[in-house]
Homo-oligomer: 139 residues x 3
């Protein structure tokens, strides 16, 4: 059995989706796992890892608009605002989405569907460096 | 170690929950894994895999009604509507729920709780054929 | 390869977040996996497992308030209310969050970020005993 850990640093510059599929694929090539799974895990509570439609940028922008409406900044009932109006909404968005995705690997390749991409979903306005762990298990 | 991939095709005919627990169990019997995990992964961005109460159909209908209110079709701020009013909401519902579930296997059986079932949650109105990958890892 | 299952019973007394990170860590020490993953899975459909900010209790309280607004009890369009006004909302909150989290293990330790904690998110008002399975796979 093979177990392999690798790491990505993703630099974000604004709230919204940032596709990282192309950065994960070479890590899987390198690890040597032909059949198994990869877990993509982000070590933060103010951004998410999600699988989303990656063909049409308007779908990504509409998703971002929806989340801005669902979890508005500066809601008057938030008390946790030490880091600004996007602080508490960022934690809520993370809980409403995902901290990790686990994806099958067959014949050395992630088995994403035709329109699926893996994204880091940034919930903070200011630039951040995000640590993403990539763990492959298989043979 | 055993790594095994299998596949389901799920035909859906309307928006809503479609239980697939009974279709996953024989795949686990066949793969020979006695202790480990199974990852159930859907290769689409307009339907989800979720674990939900499977005893009372009214709970499933209420869940569907809630999602119709939370992510309404034809919202006037959506621009991604090439495939109709249920197009963009389907991607948002997927991000709000899950693309996969990972479930422990002990003694050759999925360790679901008494009331837990695995469902494909279809977000499109038209009939679709959905590809679900079932990856077991263990011994 | 090592595959190890363990179990926690978490007693809850109210709706809200209950951190269980400290109860998971000794299970990982005991199982002997140095590199791999741990899957934390709850066997119920009316509470969730989530990773959330664990430093500031006000962030946890704000999250709870948000969910009480997003999925209100006693909504007049719910028909599944056999166990009370918090019955149907509990299933919806579970589908909106997560039934499990999968976390990398390196050098025998869960690789949570600085501010990440693993929580059981209870959605029912009455006291409950919740069964959580902890499955480690690795070497």
């Amino acid at each position: 059995m093979l177990v392999h850990h690798d790491q990505l640093e993703v630099r974000t510059h604004r709230k919204g989706l940032c596709e990282i599929t192309d950065q994960i694929e070479p890590k899987i090539d390198k690890c040597g796992v032909q059949n198994g799974t990869v877990t993509v895990f982000v070590q933060h509570t103010s951004c998410s890892i999600v699988i989303m439609e990656n063909a049409d940028p308007t779908a990504q922008r509409d998703l971002e608009k929806f989340f801005d409406r669902l979890v508005p900044e500066n809601a008057d009932y938030f008390t946790h605002d030490a880091e600004g109006g996007d602080d508490m909404p960022s934690h809520i968005r993370t809980v409403l989405t995902r901290t990790s995705e686990t994806i099958p690997i067959m014949d050395g390749k992630m088995q994403l569907g035709t329109w699926q991409g893996v994204f880091l979903f940034e919930h903070r306005r200011a630039p951040h460096r995000r640590k993403v762990l990539i763990t492959t298990i298989g043979e």
